[in-house]
């Protein structure tokens, strides 16, 4: 009944401390907002005061999540609820490890979808966005 953790890795050609910094500080530059944003292309996303916030082209904002654990250079963890309220949050954990060849292995693990849910609470919480879609499909499986 549960959605398995999603694990993805990529190797980037810089040391972990720099990779960690670029991931956070440059998120507005590299994140593919057109394909993976709440408001589409033309806006921006920043990590501000411990939250990941997207600002759409028309000035509307959406909080994607809240940082829960930041340990430079190795770790960045945050709750994840783009387009949905915090009650619908899942969890993303990104680690940055030296690959021994001057680069960094970046691993992302996405977990925390509910195996069971209360339909009434879900109706309140999962109005829009991916967590709701995932929860609905997890419950159907």
């Amino acid at each position: 009944m549960n959605i398995e953790p999603v694990v993805r890795q990529v190797v980037v050609p810089c040391p972990p401390a720099r990779a960690h910094r670029l991931f956070v500080d440059d998120i507005g530059t590299w994140w593919p907002l057109g394909e993976h944003g709440v408001f589409g292309a033309g806006g921006t996303v920043t990590v501000t005061e411990g939250r990941i916030v997207e600002t759409g082209p028309d000035g509307r904002t959406a909080v994607w999540g809240t940082l829960t654990d930041v340990a430079e250079p190795g770790l960045l963890a945050f709750t994840w609820h783009p387009g949905a309220p915090p009650e619908a949050a899942t969890h993303v954990r990104v680690t940055f490890a030296d690959d021994g060849a001057g680069g960094t292995r970046v691993e992302l693990v996405h977990t925390g979808w509910p195996a069971h849910r209360d339909p009434r609470a879900a109706r309140e919480a999962y109005d829009r966005g991916w967590p709701g879609v995932l929860a609905a499909l997890a419950a159907a499986a």
């Binding site: 959605i3 890795q9 994140w31 394909e35 992302l108 879609v133």
Partner: protein, 112 residues
């Protein structure tokens, strides 16, 4: 059937906010088209069109009960979404890697 569900079809199907809302509504149980249209800011023909896309993507199935057509979430949708999610994070990390590579190459050009 679940193995035949294409991650790309799912990606396209869930790329639309109205279709995501339909999936979530169906998460509360099977619904006829009319009930879905009543709960959404789009008309019944549009909902029917969206349902067809979702059905083709393997996320939704429909059953006929007498003369009533009920739509519900397909169990295979869970696998499809897992595939979609994996693809999403692959694209996001790929974009990050591309950004770092661009910066590193620029640095190398500046200090040969």
């Amino acid at each position: 059937m679940s193995n035949l569900v294409s991650a790309h079809a799912v990606l396209d199907a869930l790329g639309d906010p109205t279709r995501r809302q339909i999936v979530e509504r169906l998460g509360h149980g099977p619904r006829p088209v009319g009930a879905l249209a009543d709960a959404l800011p789009v008309g019944r023909p549009a909902v029917s069109k969206h349902l067809r896309v979702l059905t083709d993507a393997g996320l939704v199935r429909h059953t006929a009960v007498g003369t009533r057509h009920l739509y519900s979430l397909a169990p295979a949708g869970r696998d499809a979404v897992q595939a979609w999610l994996t693809e999403q994070w692959g694209e996001v990390l790929g974009a990050f890697a591309e950004h770092v590579e661009t910066l590193e190459h620029a640095d190398q050009r500046r200090s040969p």
